[in-house]
Amino acid sequence: MPHDDHDHPHALLPPEPALRVKALETILTRKGLIDPAALDEIIDTYQNKIGPNNGARVVAKAWADSAFKHALLQDATAAVADLGYYGRQGEHMVVVENTPEQHNMVVCTLCSCYPWPLLGIPPGWYKSDAYRARAVREPRKVLSEFGVSLPKDTSVRVWDSTAEIRYLVLPIRPDGTEGLSEDELAALVTRDSMIGTGLPKVRS
């Protein structure tokens, strides 16, 4: 039940956010409910092990291997699990393909849903009120703030992640990348290009 009729318990903790976190961590540790070493491990996972490099590998493989791309667009959860990518906030994956006719962009207007196993923890702007509020109503203005302008004939499809389905954008493979290895292709794939607020790097 919503508890709207009393003061919220969080008000009992220190107001300054870093102290608020510390206070709660201390209380839970004293009670034997959390292990500070486990917190370190969680942080290390998302700081150093799981991030957009995973998604970039998936995109590069899709660019290089048409059978994989087909499988990825059919059942992304299974296709990326075959590469070893599965886990919290990536249990139900869908990959949407950009084409010259249609550009895809992902948002979560209600909170901050994001495909963690492929992209890690979302950047601050993805979680900001401005992005959450505006991406669905004026995606082209939002894209312009990322320095992206689309051809006028390209439509925009914005995916609002309102359930447990997590979306990854498959960007268009840049011209002039024929013959590149998957590693070289992966180096062109940016985080933002997999959210749909950016485009892959152009090869220098």
Binding site: M1, P2, H3, D4, H8, P9, H10, L12, P17, A18, R20, V21, K22, L24, E25, T26, I27, L28, R30, K31, G32, L33, I34, D35, A38, L39, I42, I43, T45, G87, Q89, G90, E91, H92, V94, T109, C111, G120, P123, G124, W125, A130, R132, A133, V136, R137, E138, P139, R140, E145, S155, V156, R157, V158, W159, D160, T162, A163, E164, T190
Partner: protein
């Protein structure tokens, strides 16, 4: 009516500030700590993801608006711990050491990798028959509301209430957040991706061919 978190389409938030892709994952150490404490506490098994989302949404509009992202997390967590009986208000004021009945469930460091890798799928078998076909026209419920609990959690944003769209995909049958966020059971039902023309949602769409897709449960939809 929904709550303050339901901000899709809102005016007045100003420009987005893109960040470099090389910026640290956590801008402040306490952000990392807030995420980790929240995840580790979840493994005590006293609530599900829908309950925890609703805890953040239930922050007062004043707090929700003034709190930064991870302040919402940590404040929502404190509320969850008390509302679910894990901690008392006195514990928040001054925690003493001592045995806790849930301490056997504490997530240990060597279990973290496995626990995060395991995830928590939301698809479940359901005996609710699939009602809509891909390509079928549907309309979303209006007004937006949790039909089980007044003021409760729901995932139909207000900007898409009463809108006409077309079924794009069937995702299978998934836990219904409106029920699961309130201890009323998982109540799985068909979940669809529904595509809406931007002109169906906004008075002044940017482009005639633009679209918005939302994932919506069957009970949010009616046939046209």
């Amino acid at each position: 009516m929904t709550r303050v978190h339901d901000m899709g389409g809102r005016f007045g938030d100003g420009a987005i500030r893109p960040e470099s892709e090389d910026d640290p994952v956590f801008a402040e150490d306490w952000h990392a700590r807030a995420l980790a404490v929240t995840l580790a506490s979840g493994f005590l098994g006293q609530w599900n993801i829908d309950v925890s989302r609703h805890a953040r949404e239930r922050l007062s509009p004043k707090d929700y608006t003034r709190f930064s992202y991870y302040e919402k997390w940590i404040s929502g967590l404190a509320d969850l711990l008390v509302d679910n009986g894990v901690l008392t208000l006195d514990d928040l004021r001054d925690a003493s050491e001592g045995d806790h009945p849930l301490s056997a469930r504490m997530l240990k460091a060597d279990a973290v990798a496995g626990a995060l890798a395991k995830g928590g799928p939301a698809d479940r078998p359901s005996n609710i028959a699939i009602k809509f076909e891909i390509g079928q026209d549907v309309r979303t419920a209006h007004p937006t509301a949790n039909r089980l609990v007044d003021g409760g959690h729901t995932r139909l944003p207000i900007y898409a209430a009463g809108a006409k769209g077309r079924v794009l995909r069937l995702h299978g049958t998934h836990v219904l957040p409106d029920s699961n966020a309130h201890g009323l059971g998982e109540a799985p039902e068909p979940l669809y991706a529904v595509v809406f023309p931007a002109s169906e949602l906004w008075a002044d769409p940017e482009h005639p061919n633009d679209e918005v897709v939302l994932d919506l449960w069957q009970s949010y939809l009616e046939p046209l």
